[in-house]
């Protein structure tokens, strides 16, 4: 019989309900701040200051008619959106927020999260290739190109964090950070590189090539409508929540704060503050930058970022040897 707390963590707290709410909250935050930077008011009339706008978008899409274009692969067309939503939720359930070792945490869960992190791209690839339209096939082509570029140093920067602490699960990481302070003091470059890679993973400008609105219609999302589109858009927001909470747990010590172990829920407060900080950085970069060309993608990301990661690698080895 599965324990009640396992059900609770996977379905309610860091799992389904909490992460979907966080996804809507981050989408709302992004739309409001980007609007304010552009000197206009974001969504206003749905709920207090337009807070329920993402929820209304999602519900509206659920009730719309779903047109499946002919000669598309029905199986993949149905599965891809569902898979795309499940993986981030499962990933979120593993993140410890109000405890060192929550119900679902097991021995090597940080390593498992790294694997899940790189797996989530293939669901969107399947979604794109399921449809017989050149825009989605081109969009997915770009998605894979972009994925192959950013995935290398995303995994590297997270792995270096594990290398320095020689621990591969979240609770161990949190203990290490309570003793030695947040990892960001030792690995600032790793932190910055992880954020850049996260922006590329979330396809936010300056790396929103796979679904460039002005260029290839909507990239791999072109042929989706109704339910499928609702889930795909939700999965993008969920992977934003997941990425941000992963980086804040690894680098900033998610729930750690003054009186964390004693009063459990206070950890949620520190976690929220750190996630908010990271999301503000991402939203600001999104608002201020234009899209790079595919030529620029490789030289901008690879040429500049890989040396940084190697430097960070050397520092981590030195710190670990010295520590």
């Amino acid at each position: 019989m599965i324990g009640i707390d396992v059900l609770f963590t996977s379905l309610v707290f860091p799992g389904l309900l909490f992460s979907v709410a966080m996804a809507f909250w981050f989408q709302y935050l992004e739309r409001k701040i980007v609007a304010r930077i552009q000197r206009r008011i974001g969504p206003l009339y749905t709920g207090p200051h337009g807070l329920f706008q993402p929820l209304y978008d999602f519900l509206k899409m659920l009730f719309k008619e779903e047109i499946i274009p002919e000669n598309t692969d029905k199986l993949y067309y149905r599965i891809a959106p569902v898979l795309a939503v499940v993986i981030p939720i499962y990933g979120m359930a593993l993140i410890p927020i109000i405890c060192y070792k929550c119900a679902l945490n097991f021995e090597g869960d940080f390593l498992f999260t790294l694997f899940l992190f790189s797996l989530s791209v293939f669901t969107t690839a399947i979604a794109g290739y399921a449809v017989y339209s050149p825009y989605s096939s081109v969009g997915v082509g770009r998605l894979i190109v972009q994925y192959s570029i950013y995935e290398s140093f995303l995994a590297l920067s997270l792995a270096i964090a594990a290398l320095q602490t020689s621990i591969i699960d979240f609770s161990g990481l949190l203990q290490y950070q309570t003793i030695h302070g947040p990892l960001v003091f030792y690995q600032p470059i790793g932190f910055v590189v992880a954020i850049i890679a996260l922006i590329a993973k979330l396809e936010k400008p300056p790396f929103d090539l796979p679904h460039a609105k002005q260029e290839i219609v909507a990239g791999w999302m072109t042929e989706y409508s109704g339910r499928g589109l609702a889930f795909l858009k939700l999965s993008k927001d969920l992977s934003m929540v997941w990425g941000i909470s992963l980086i804040s747990t690894v680098y900033l010590g998610g729930p750690l704060g003054p009186l964390f172990p004693e009063a459990g829920p206070v950890g949620l407060l520190w976690f929220a503050i750190k996630c908010l900080a990271i999301s503000l950085v991402i939203i600001f970069v999104r608002a201020v930058s234009g899209r790079t060309r595919v030529y620029g993608l490789a030289e901008r990301l690879w040429a500049r970022v890989i040396p940084l990661v190697v430097l960070q690698f050397i520092i981590a080895v030195l710190v670990r040897w010295y520590m």
């Binding site: 701040i33 930077i37 552009q38 008011i41 600001f284």
Partner: protein, 122 residues
């Protein structure tokens, strides 16, 4: 031209506009917004003599003369014709009110003409 601060300037500009009041204008449009437009033609039928000059000079042919009543010239009974405006074809240029010898067509300062069917309600 060259003194631009590039990326830094952009970030400063973004932060500054983040905290300034948004420029969005409240709707429905207030009075001072409406008074500068040309408005739409409305007929004052008592002044109209039915000469049809407006019909001939309307660029998009939106005006059609319609028999309205009787008019006495000398001793003959002549049908009085008044213009009817098709507000879908009208381009709101105001030529009819300029050309009208009697000034029977006045450009009313009002917009927000929204019809949900050719019938013209809502």
């Amino acid at each position: 031209m060259s003194k631009g601060r590039g990326g830094l300037g952009l970030v400063v500009e973004a932060i500054r506009s983040l905290f300034e009041k948004p420029v969005t204008r409240d709707y429905p449009a207030s009075e001072e917004v409406v008074e500068t437009i040309r408005g739409m033609p409305v007929l004052h039928s008592e002044k109209c003599v039915g000469c049809g000059l407006c019909e001939r000079s309307c660029p998009s042919g939106a005006i059609t003369m319609v028999v309205v009543g009787k008019r006495k010239i000398g001793n003959k009974e002549v049908p009085l014709r008044n213009p009817r405006f098709d507000y879908f074809r009208c381009i709101y240029c105001g030529i009819c009110s300029e050309v009208c010898p009697r000034g029977a067509i006045e450009m009313v300062k009002k917009f927000g003409l929204i019809y949900t069917s050719k019938g013209g309600e809502k």
